[in-house]
Symmetry: C2
Subunit: 414 residues, 2 copies
């Protein structure tokens, strides 16, 4: 009897396909821009993106020269003061936004607060019956917590709805709808153009959370008429741990956008230090307090990896990678041990694969031990993020093969 702990041999046809796909991959050369050991299979870039190689030197310059030597002068001379809107303009093309509509700063949660409260204030005061804040019931929890807080502060009812049932639950009471573009558990991609249109049809405003889509797929914020959006920069945008989030306000709403956090950085003339608040024009109005420059400029450096990269090419590779990984999982993993909750249809898939597995905690620990890094969402979800800039097809094959190996060693529960 063969040793069940022996490494699972590669299925030759899959290994060959991986090699072919990698050879034909126009984004393959991007991997060298990241600090990754040659054998690293890092499938957790949907949680924390890998380090772009140019970041350490840039941050060192920010610290030792800009802060250490120029000190206070760097607010002007090193461009610190304008970084939030400058970096917003770098992110804009990746999510289909024009220049001057995105500002970077604060956490995603704080930006969800600005966006939702800002959306409520854009509502027509002559239509008080339009009072429901609808929130994606499957969204990342922080969105729901903040939405509940906004509902509490405004006295508006909060209505959690599964995105699949969203069109049927919209109506004359629909005020603001907050949806996550990609479900963080299953990797399901929601129909941003269709749902945005449905929300508008009902007379409401659509706010999107792009944490799992910015840098992973085309979003088309302007094109699809999204009202407001927020997103994270430390996943597919590789900005570093806890790098600042971003806020998008559609051009047609900028003039009336009324931030609930009118800090001095959103004042039209911050250094007048006036007692009265006069809001700045444009994206700057979404700023609050002094920006965290070290994290902000690390993100700016990290965005260099996108130079010359087409987000359409990223999307095409992402779908090919997740298709291929699912095919490899079918080949290597015992069918009764894992099941994918990620939609098979491309139009419904983000850039991750989620596998249900009763022994998920032990399985993910063993995978990480063997250099295949994904993550666990309790109680039973194995998540594998595919970041096309630095993950290849051979990585996908190895990850699935290692998963097969691990599942043969860890006994099935019950």
């Amino acid at each position: 009897m063969s040793d069940p702990r022996a490494a699972v041999p590669a299925v030759p046809v899959l290994a060959a396909r991986a090699a072919e796909l990698d050879a034909a991959d126009e984004l393959a050369s991007c991997r060298k821009l990241f600090a990754l050991e040659p054998d690293a299979v890092y499938l957790d870039g949907n949680s924390l993106g890998a380090l772009p190689r140019n970041v350490p030197e840039r941050v060192q310059d920010v610290i030792t020269r800009q802060w250490g030597e120029l000190r206070i002068r760097s607010w002007d001379e090193s461009g610190w003061w304008t970084a939030p809107e400058r970096i917003g303009d770098r992110i804009a093309p990746l999510v289909g936004a024009g220049q001057g509509r995105i500002v970077v700063g604060d956490s995603t949660s704080v930006n969800v607060f600005k966006a939702l409260m800002g959306a409520v204030r854009l509502l027509d005061p002559a239509d008080p019956a339009r009072d429901e804040i609808v929130v994606d019931a499957t969204t990342f929890p922080t969105d729901g917590y903040i939405a509940r807080s906004v509902a509490r502060m405004t006295g508006m009812p909060l209505v959690p709805v599964d995105p699949a049932e969203l069109p049927g639950s919209l109506g004359p009471r629909t005020a603001v709808v907050l949806v996550n573009h990609v479900d963080f558990r299953t990797g399901r991609l929601h129909d941003l153009p269709g749902l945005t249109a449905a929300v508008h049809e009902a007379g409401g405003l659509a706010v999107w959370d792009l944490c799992h889509s910015a840098g992973a797929l085309p979003v088309g914020l302007d094109e699809h008429g999204v009202d407001l959006a927020v997103g994270c920069t430390y996943k597919f945008l590789n900005g570093g741990p806890g790098s600042p989030a971003f806020l998008y306000v559609a051009e047609r709403h900028q003039e009336r956008f009324d931030s609930p956090l009118p800090g001095w950085n959103s004042h039209a003339d911050p250094f007048a230090m006036a007692q009265d608040f006069t809001a700045a024009e444009g994206a700057v109005r979404g700023r609050v307090g002094t920006p965290d420059i070290l994290s902000m400029l690390a993100l700016e450096a990290a965005l260099d990896v996108w130079d010359g990269v087409s987000i359409d090419a990223v999307r095409a590779k992402s779908l090919a990678l997740t298709d291929f990984f699912l095919e490899c999982v079918t080949a290597y993993a015992p069918a009764d041990r894992v099941s994918s909750t990620t939609p098979a249809a491309h139009a419904e898939r983000g850039s991750q694969v989620a596998l249900r597995c009763a022994e998920a905690p032990a399985v993910m620990a063993a995978l990480i031990e063997r250099g295949v890094v994904g993550d666990l969402r309790r109680p039973d979800v194995l998540r594998f993020g595919f970041t096309p800039l630095y993950v290849g097809f051979a990585d996908a094959e190895r990850a699935a093969r290692t998963l097969g190996e691990v599942l043969r060693e860890i006994p099935a529960a019950g």
Copy 2:
């Protein structure tokens, strides 16, 4: 006739006094912990603290090893997840707070929002007539803007009051009072123990902004019964440009503290990813979203300079420095050109000197040109911050002497 542009010679007695005071200064050895050229006279540490020498190497390790190699594992293995409360505990002794009462994260403005809205929610609901939010009319503008936003959201009246008139304006309608510990323009130190007691006497809650006192003088948050407080870490705490701010909630209020920004990081079990929000216990409840780790850990490294430093010694040196600087200004600067708006009484003085000067913009530009870096607050205030860890008495003498020189060169307006 002597050339008015010739350098002003040092007054021998002042130069000698400076040398004596520096020789006797127990904190003099701290300067070598900072990246400062030997001849730098940096009097803007009340705006952006100088770079502690240990920060670049620490941040490099955070980027290249913790992020670059350990990647996602660093959230646990490198202590990223617990950094906000761990660093809060490092700041606590500097402001007289016990352990577990301070959390670091977000900007000062965002923390003012948490503190004010949190204070409103601590009020006795059986006393709805207690409805006034009183705000220091001289405070740094962002505090006033955010206070107005809280007043708008809660429907409570906002009452701006000069701190000097505060005791007389308190009464049965006083709900929450937000005061800045040190006036950012004049450097006036407000009476935190006395005003806090007066607010309590009136039945209200006292919220203090410590941006210009944390790291400059003893605050005694616990001792004086302050209810909530916020503070900045990039001034006297040298955390770096835009480093995260902090929030203090008195122990007696922690259990009822009800954050208006209940992000997933303030959940009792964040990784349960539960739809329902259950607030964490203690200081963690003040967290919101994912912390900005690069800025946060730069701050943590920067706090090393405080090891073994007594805040009482810092205060004693600060007062001696500002006394001596004012004495030197009197000796070197034409009396009709500048006038101090910083109180002469020690009990009313923070750690900066503010001089009114009709030609302030040109004068400050010329000072900076000659290596004496202070800053300007429009239209006519020259600000000189004295950070006892790296500013010495010879620096104070040189700054005053250079000011005298510059004033002789720049014609008096009008």
